[in-house]
Amino acid sequence: MSKLTDLTIAEARDGLKKKAFSAVELTEAHIQSVEKARVLNAFVTETPEIARAAAADSDKRIASGAMRPLEGIPMGIKDLFCTKGVLTTAGSHILDGFKPPYESTVTRNMFNDGAVMLGKLNMDEFAMGSSNETSYYGPVINPWRRKGSDTKLVPGGSSGGSSASVAARLVMGATGTDTGGSIRQPAAVTGIAGIKPTYGRCSRWGIVAFASSLDQAGPMARTVRDCAIMLKSMASHDPLDSTSVDLPVPDYEAAMTGNIKGLRVGIPKEYRIDGMPAEIEALWQKGIAWLKDAGAEMVDVSLPHTKYALPAYYIVAPAEASSNLARYDGVRFGLRVPGKDITSMYENTRAAGFGREVQRRILIGTYVLSAGYYDAYYIKAQKLRTLIARDFEEAYAKCDVLLTPTAPGPAFGIGEKTDDPISMYLNDVFTVTVNLAGLPGLSVPAGLNADGLPLGLQLIGKAFDEATLFRVGEVIEKAAGATPRPQSWWEV
């Protein structure tokens, strides 16, 4: 049975259709691997009973020939998505016991298409982090280890439970959310694929908000095709989200022709940052070579305001977060710590309920929005966003897609960067520009480094042109060759 967990979503889909195995068998195989992998701490909540019931229903539908796009596929859901009647924590103590009486639009779309939920995945608290170390439920451990070392490595963040569970074959695919790189960076350091769609492509309704103008949900899976299959189901126009876009969702798989002849690939020189590890530079060159071999044409482009993206992000995101997180006040849901009056109840609840990083960002956000500083910080940062978006528009006059590294390095050790916020923030240096401009970005597994750790390449597309990203991404994936699966050292 164990090899059922090695299948891709596409392979499983075919196997289920051919009745080579049942949805229940497929789900049981994954439930077992979840139970064996608890040391990775990838799940906040396991829902095997929900999974079994859904799988049984899927088998009925398959038997009746009414198979849906994600029929019987075992998935993990990042704990930022509200799931009706199932504990939803956002990785925070402050949401203790919160069972939403509603289902997020994205997960509803997936379940309507037959997806089977194995559980809710661990994550950085309120998606604030790049290593999954800020979770109230403890760090997630990357299934990958350095050659000949048993040092525990981070799975990236904030969607660290998603990346680890997909890489460790606990789930076939997982939902993630990406505000500054939280899908792409963890995907890269765990050797899987993940896409942050164009802002507005997936509904934000029912997803716990971090930074509303940057948040976007997306799929994480072991292949580019699997991401395409998932996004087709996750994406929709949602009348309940004023920022969701009313555009038809294309058939992404159909667009994956493997043909990129004549495609113009932009190489932004500003992404060649000082102190970038040689292996990252080398990886980038490999990616360029693969695309050239496939008939694409390389174009040098410039994104002059790239270096201002992270600082701008660390004004806009905390500012929005400080307001979005004001609703966690101990009145209507979650944790309440008593106080002598209403104000001290608020202050005690939020002091106990929010972790250090979340508190730090709320304070930054509150400060930059406060009287006298708003223009100097918030407005300034929003102006930089305009310039960054303009950079991309100008680049896209010369090219169809951009190729960059996803992350500045491979997975690092747990605790290595926690004492220095800024060095932690720098993990998003290649991914954050995309969020600020609202563009789609895909991270593709592109092989292992000398230590045997996975690295990823990022493709950045034009707004709502995810199709091109999948088409080019699959070409890179093929050229790089299948990423081996990590040694399952965690299995008990």
Binding site: C82, T88, A90, L95, F98, P100, P101, Y102, S104, R204, W205, G206, I207, V208, A209, A211, S212, S213, P239, L240, D241, S242, T243, A319, E320, S322, S323, L325, A326, R327, D329, V331, R332, F333, I342, T343, Y346, T366, L369, S370, A371, Y374, Y378
Partner: protein, 491 residues
């Protein structure tokens, strides 16, 4: 905020001399919509706790606002009614602060770019004077929920039924100078909103609430420090609150103290204002554009469509009443104060003596309605009946005196005035024979009065009275008068 009012208004006396009160108002008017501003929950008043609440109104995680088009249209409609600037692009901001009845920790409002800009309201003051009150802005925002403090010894209960209901905040310039002016402004604003149908103006249910900003200064001097008095929910209270607050401030200043800018609460039982402890802390609302919403944009066609549907408003109606019906400014003002009254009057006046109609509607009908605390809509005397009474007077069928009796009968028993006059024989006697007989009788019976009258013609009135009595008030007073003069040889 600068005042557009130049001349000094009425003054109040202090120990050190005269003081001028300066008043500006922030009126929160609930949009007459079925659903809330950003959610599909009902905006209706009065329901079980949290029964009109959606997950959005409760600030649940991941919930998002979607704006109600009707509310936007009503804000624009009101702006047009205030002859104000309509901003085709406006922005919704978050006003951040913690309070139990504010579920999300912020109120969605409009700060730097409101949907409606500067406008004007004309306010008639008792005594015939009319003042211009400047409107600074009108913006759309969410109402808050309700905290109940009297249900439990050491807890407050929170009901979010009102949370998210659409409000129009209408901010005036500090152009008002007395309690009377403030109340008159509020009354006029309410009339405009009710004419437009954008707000029911019901202050008891809180669908219209006034925050009153009061300061005092030496006549013509610089503006003083103002205090904001919250939730003054009746015309009468506005007047009381202003008078109390102005007096309080004058006493403090004359006592050598200074006014500290603060939010105060009006206590309608005591008729006093007191500092609000919950608002003592200095606020920093950290306004910023709500990233869950895009800028609110519409085109000229959108505005034009709304403009085309505007009704005739009080000011225009008043002008027309004066011009077309020849009414006095005062009478016209009384009639247009409520759309229902104006419509009632026009139904009565149509094709009749409008001045006479105005007299009867204002003095007899409104007088009686007020006495019995009834609204025009509840009048036992229909516009048609009122109209036929007016006709019966003008065509001489009945005298004004008889008309009062007819009105009384219709008010209490109902029925058609013409028929009542007919069946109850209330018609004026126009048969000169009968009148002459009555006159001869009175003259014959009072020889000495006849002598006095010849010397003092004003005595004729006495004879007319006698004759009217003899005919049960039904003789035509005009005819009687002429006849008597003739018979006494007084012309």
């Amino acid at each position: 905020m600068v005042t557009t009012r130049t001349e000094t208004g009425p003054l109040i006396d202090g120990a050190t001399g005269k003081w001028e009160i300066v008043i500006g108002m922030e009126v929160h008017a609930q949009v007459l919509s079925k659903a809330k501003l950003f959610s599909g929950a009902s905006a209706e008043f009065g329901a079980d706790p949290n029964a009109h609440v959606s997950f959005i109104d409760a600030g649940m995680p991941g919930m998002l606002p979607v704006i109600n088009r009707f509310c936007v249209e009503q804000a624009v409609r009101t702006g047009l009614g205030l002859k104000a600037q309509i901003n085709k692009s406006s922005v919704f901001d978050r006003k951040n602060y913690f309070y139990p009845d504010l579920p999300s920790g912020y109120q969605i409002s409009q700060y730097k770019q409101p949907v409606v800009g500067e406008g004007i309201v004309l306010v008639d003051l008792p005594g015939g004077k009319t003042i211009e009150v400047g409107i600074e802005r009108l913006h759309l925002e969410q109402d808050a929920g309700k905290s109940l403090h009297d249900q439990h010894p050491d807890q407050s209960f929170v009901d979010l039924n009102r949370a998210g209901v659409a409000l129009m905040e209408i901010v005036s310039r500090p152009d008002l100078r007395s309690a009377e002016e403030a109340a008159a402004y509020l009354k006029k604003l309410r009339a405009i909103l009710r004419y437009l149908g954008t707000c029911d103006g019901n202050m008891e249910e809180g669908s219209m609430r006034a925050d009153v900003n009061v300061s005092v200064r030496k006549p013509g001097g610089p503006l003083g420090t103002r205090c904001e008095i919250k939730n003054v929910n009746s015309m009468r209270f506005v007047a009381q609150a202003v008078d109390y607050e102005a007096r309080r401030q004058v006493d403090i200043i004359e006592g050598g103290g200074t006014i500290k800018q603060e939010t105060r609460l009006f206590d309608s039982k005591k008729g006093e204002t007191r500092s609000m402890r919950s608002k003592e802390e200095a606020h920093d609302y950290r306004y910023f554009p709500d990233p869950d919403l895009l800028p609110l944009e519409f085109d000229d066609a959108f505005v034009a469509r709304i403009k085309a549907s505007l009704p005739e408003l009080p000011d225009d109606k008043k002008d027309r009443f004066m011009k077309d019906y020849g009414l006095s400014s005062y009478d016209a003002g009384v009639l247009v104060a409520e759309r229902e009254s104006a419509d009632f009057f026009e139904r009565v006046a149509r094709g009749r003596d409008a001045k006479l109609a105005a007299n009867w509607v204002i003095n007899e009908l409104f007088g009686r309605l007020n006495k019995e605390g009834k609204a025009v809509g509840e009048s036992p005397v229909s516009a048609a009946a009122m109209g036929s009474i007016v006709s019966l007077i003008s065509d001489g069928t009945i005298s004004g005196k008889i008309a009062k009796d007819v009105f009384e009968i219709v008010w209490t028993e109902g029925g058609d005035p013409a028929a009542i006059v007919e069946t109850r024989g209330m018609k004026q006697v126009t048969d000169m024979g009968a009148i002459e007989a009555a006159v001869d009788q009175v003259i014959a019976a009072n020889p000495q009065k006849v002598e006095q009258a010849k010397a003092k013609p004003s005595m004729v009135g006495w004879f007319v009275g006698q004759v009217m009595q003899a005919t049960g008030g039904k003789a035509n007073p005009q005819a009687v008068n002429e006849l008597i003069k003739k018979k006494l040889g007084l012309e």
